[in-house]
């Protein structure tokens, strides 16, 4: 690990000022991705601004929206009664991610910003456009069974690994961001950037901007929702494909539908087209199949991950069928 200066932030403004002023500075929260990447020298910050003692750990319910401090841990949010009652898909996505130890450390803000598990990104000995722009992509001709089929480019096929980001994207959550020039709110639908020719740019945050809160709209009472994660092991493993979905079914019709996929995209993958198909339809196999087709529309297989396209479709059908069968 490279040496770094350590600063403990006393206020949000102090933290933002410290990082904004130094191009080599970055924030430290739970550290579960960051410290690991620093050990491998994939990250080499010259200054860590520790934000873990800032008062950003409260969860409040306000007018149909859950406002979550960005330093709330995954375990804390999963245990919150409003999440259990009104956002079951978020709770499931949280508890199906990582391990209990990691979930006690990892914060929600950090989870959204976690870096890919692409082994080539994490190995400074090989080429990676995300780590070193212009260097080339080792995954395209490498072992790419875990890699993305949606949102890829010739420059990068790395999968976004978050589970909870998929559930949050599905329900229309936003992040509240503080920068040197004030605060802004960014919907997750506009937060992530697909790699294109600049895979090192993963989201719309400017250097020094800090996620302070998440705003999560609650599902209406009576909504059915869930998170299905398909993986190689029963626990403590990243998704090969995952689906976050919520349906409101009334009088034999789907009145509202939310759908997003994980494990298959370079970013958490929202599918508005599938939501449109589902809306006002009868909840049957035909429309679920059409939604699944729409969800994987445009998917591109690499040498080792073509199975994810059909796996993703089947996961969508299974998740939606499971919700429809709930009484």
């Amino acid at each position: 690990m490279r040496s770094f200066a350590y600063v403990r932030a006393t206020t949000v403004d102090h933290a933002v000022a410290e990082v904004t002023a130094d191009p080599d500075a970055t924030y430290l929260a739970g550290g579960t991705t960051q410290v690991d990447l620093m050990k491998d020298e994939v990250f080499r910050p010259g200054r860590l601004v520790d934000i873990t003692r800032l008062p950003l750990r409260d969860v409040t319910s306000d007018n149909g929206t859950l406002v979550v401090g960005a330093l709330t841990t995954m375990e804390e949010l999963a245990a919150h009664e409003v999440v259990a009652g009104r956002l079951p898909l978020v709770r499931q996505a949280l508890l199906l991610g990582a391990s209990p130890q990691l979930r006690h450390m990892a914060t929600l803000g950090g989870n959204l910003l976690q870096r890919t598990r692409c082994r080539y990104f994490r190995d400074p000995g090989v080429a990676c456009n995300k780590r070193e722009p212009g260097a080339g992509c080792s995954a395209v001709d490498g072992f790419n069974r875990m890699h993305a089929v949606l949102g890829t480019s010739p420059a990068c096929i790395a999968t976004h690994a978050s589970d909870v980001a998929v559930a949050l994207l599905a329900v229309g959550a936003s992040v509240r961001v503080r920068g040197q020039d004030g605060e802004r709110v960014v919907p997750l639908t506009e937060f992530y950037r697909v790699p294109g020719s600049t895979p090192h740019v993963e989201n719309v945050l400017a250097h020094g901007e800090l996620i302070t809160h998440l705003e999560i709209p609650l599902l209406p009472p009576g909504a059915r929702s869930g998170y299905l994660k398909v993986r190689d092991r029963a626990s403590y493993e990243f998704a090969l494909a995952s689906v976050a979905a919520a349906l409101v079914i009334d009088d034999g019709r789907i009145r509202a539908a939310h759908l997003a996929l994980g494990g298959v995209g370079t970013v958490p993958w929202h599918v508005p087209r599938a939501e449109e198909l589902l809306r006002d339809a009868a909840p049957d196999a035909e429309v679920f199949s059409a939604a699944a087709e729409a969800a994987l529309s445009g998917a591109v297989a690499q040498s080792g991950n073509g199975f994810k396209i059909e796996l993703g479709r089947r996961a969508v059908v299974r998740m939606l069928s499971t919700l429809a069968e709930e009484s």
Binding site: M1, R2, S3, F4, A5, Y6, V7, R8, A9, T10, L28, G31, T32, V35, D36, M38, K39, G46, L48, D50, T52, R53, E75, A98, S99, P100, Q101, L102, H104, M105, A234, S235, Y236
Partner: protein, 176 residues
């Protein structure tokens, strides 16, 4: 708690960047230790190398195996991914802090009784995780124990006996 940052003392190091050392107060098993660490020092290395508390083990050092599990402010965490500087002032509990007046913790007894180990390298982490698991109320079934112990790997494969050891202390006897 004093929220101010520790005062850094900067000294030249072998790399292009100077080594930065910071004073840290580690409160481990009820004892306060005032030490100075390189900012890169993990809580795991501080426990083992500075405080000579070698019960906590370094397995993968990448947050994957769980051998380094300790409790910080009552929650089980991975000490290999926790910076010592960030743990400043927090209450840390390690495997050395489980015994009371020379009597092992019931889980320590149970791991011995059920042979919940072979080489023993993962055992401190398994037990620290299991103590938290029971406190979290997640030992209600063998499936729950397996799910919520998934962050602790055992390369010897002592899992059935680990589950049995936890089940007994969780108060469900031998019924699976």
């Amino acid at each position: 708690m004093d929220g101010s940052a520790p005062q850094a003392r900067v000294s030249p190091g072998p790399q292009a960047r100077p080594v930065v050392r910071v004073p840290v107060v580690l409160r481990v098993n009820g004892t306060e230790h005032r030490i100075e660490v390189d900012t890169r020092t993990t809580l795991l290395d501080a426990l083992r190398d500075s405080l000579k508390l070698t019960g906590t083990k370094k397995g993968c050092d990448q947050g994957q195996c769980g051998a380094c599990t300790v409790h910080v402010d009552g929650k089980r965490v991975l000490s290999c991914l926790t910076l010592a500087a960030s743990a400043d002032g927090r209450a840390v509990r390690t495997i050395e802090g489980l015994e009371q007046n020379g009597t092992p913790h019931p889980l320590q007894e149970s791991f011995v009784k059920h042979d919940g180990l072979q080489c023993g390298y993962c055992t401190s982490g398994q037990i620290m995780s299991a103590v938290a698991l029971i406190e979290e109320g997640r030992a209600g079934s063998d499936d729950d124990i397996r799910e919520f112990m998934s962050g602790n790997l055992c390369r010897c494969g002592a899992y059935p006996n680990i589950v049995a050891a936890i089940r007994e202390v969780a108060g469900r006897g031998d019924d699976a």
